[in-house]
Amino acid sequence: MPIAYNMENVAIQLNNVTVRFRIPHEKIPTLQEYAIRWLKGRSVSFTDFNALNNVSFSIKQGETVGIIGANGAGKSTLLKVISQVIRPTQGRVFLRGRIAPLLELGAGFDYEMTGRENIFLNGAVLGFSRKDIASRLDRIVEFSGINDFIDAPIRTYSSGMVARLGFAIATDIRPDVLIIDEILSIGDVDFQKKSAARILRYHNDGSTILLVSHNLDSVKNLCNRTIWLEHGSVKMVGYVDDVVAQYSVEMFS
């Protein structure tokens, strides 16, 4: 696949990325069993499974790109390899700018601690310093709309409140790359409007958006381009209408 962009305006680029999981034929989770096996002279056999297989593509800054594919096609693995959670077995992943994986809102939240404490904790998980968060604390609380409960432990929050807080922290400053699944359905209607508006504004200001979705209509509505993954490989990349049309033909015929 030709990579058409010059590196200067690239947001995400993958060159021949393979992620290989090694699955043992028998599960040997303990040292004891491993030792017994080793003493008996039996070796452990593995099957290699490529969750991503030689994947290459390039995404420009400011693009909105959809990622579609059946369950197990490698979408989650792709997002993990882009967000640096796992490293590619082979190939190269290049990412420019700060990434906000909105699939993992509130990662590291401690439910025994207060909303305020969790803003710092989650902020630190996202790589912000304590000082930085302190200077933006009021704005985050304000956006989350949890003003009155911010000093209560978040185990007392509703799930919507927890998600709102997570969203407010993750998107307080404009990330260069946003990873979103489906249409963001966080909190009540008002908050959904507010969060969608914020994402739209960030997009207009130049943020790249990766949308992972099974809802082909929302992919069509939001994305310019789409990547179709199948069994860990890129089946098709192109304009959203073309890819979605092909995909529908294959899926629903």
Partner: protein, 270 residues
């Protein structure tokens, strides 16, 4: 602008070090949250950190005092000093290992430096140790045991204990991700080692032909350099300090290299 390029990565042992520095606030916040959670719902709260070693010392010195008091002056001080060093090493390593083996879920969801949990566990242990030294101080005063300038050596002993424990925690945590029964094996091992290390009893009770085996137990050295300034009121022997420092540094370097070289596999394995 921030850039991530999987092809241009520094060696893992170096990369991880700089990432930990970048995420230092996360480590502090994690230590804070461990401490807060632990004592949040108890009436006495943080006082347990002080009470725990005091009560442990009272129980053990009542139980074993009659046996060893004749040969060990200020038995309670001897006992508590040894216990603090022992508890620090074993509790820190066990805590680090279990958070990695059972609580490392965050590492699968989002990028944070892989060693964050382990460093936070050691930091938590260090705070516990410092508060417990307060309890030890109370006992020293109470028993009229003399305090000398040798106490000034304590920061060095503590540093050595921290370096060693961090190294051991890294090794054990790596092992526990690959083999979950490492947690149980270690548990049994330290239980046995506790009785093979002169903590409750003086080293002199070992028959001389067995005392060379005592030298094979690394905990003996580490506990002695912590206990000598407090209980015996003198600096530990220089050759003992050299041994302890080398042991700690070798353990840390080995642990660091092992852990960082396997760290990429953690997200797959956890």
């Amino acid at each position: 602008m921030l850039e991530y390029d999987s092809a241009k990565r520094p060696p893992p042992a170096i990369d991880e070090f700089f990432q930990l520095i970048r995420y230092r606030d996360l480590i502090f916040l994690m230590v804070e949250s461990i401490l807060k959670n632990r004592y949040k719902r108890s009436v006495l709260g943080v006082f347990w950190m002080l009470l725990n070693p005091l009560l442990q010392t009272i129980v053990l010195s009542v139980a074993f005092g009659t046996m060893f008091r004749p040969s060990v002056p200020s038995y309670a001080v001897y006992l508590l000093a040894g216990l603090l060093a022992w508890n620090f090493i074993t509790q820190t390593t066990q805590y680090a290992m279990s958070t990695m083996a059972y609580g490392g879920g965050l590492l699968k969801r989002i990028y944070i430096p892989r060693a964050t949990y382990i460093v936070a566990a050691v930091g938590n242990g260090l705070i516990n140790l410092i508060v417990s030294i307060g309890a030890l101080f109370i006992i020293v005063i109470f028993l009229n045991h003399s305090i000398t300038m040798a106490w000034l050596f304590l920061p060095v002993s503590i540093m050595i204990l921290v370096v060693f424990s961090l190294g051991l925690a890294l090794i054990l945590s790596t092992a526990s991700v690959f083999f979950t029964d490492t947690v149980d094996i270690y548990q049994v091992l330290i239980q046995a080692l506790f009785f093979l290390t002169p903590i409750m009893y003086p080293p002199s009770i070992f028959p001389s032909e067995l005392s060379q085996f005592l030298a094979l137990n690394p905990f003996v050295i580490l506990i002695e350099i912590f206990r000598a300034p407090i209980h015996a009121n003198h600096l530990p022997d220089l050759d003992l300090v050299v041994k302890a420092v080398s042991l700690a540094l070798i353990t840390l370097v080995a642990g660091w290299v092992l852990f960082t070289s396997k760290a990429d596999q953690l997200a797959y394995r956890l």
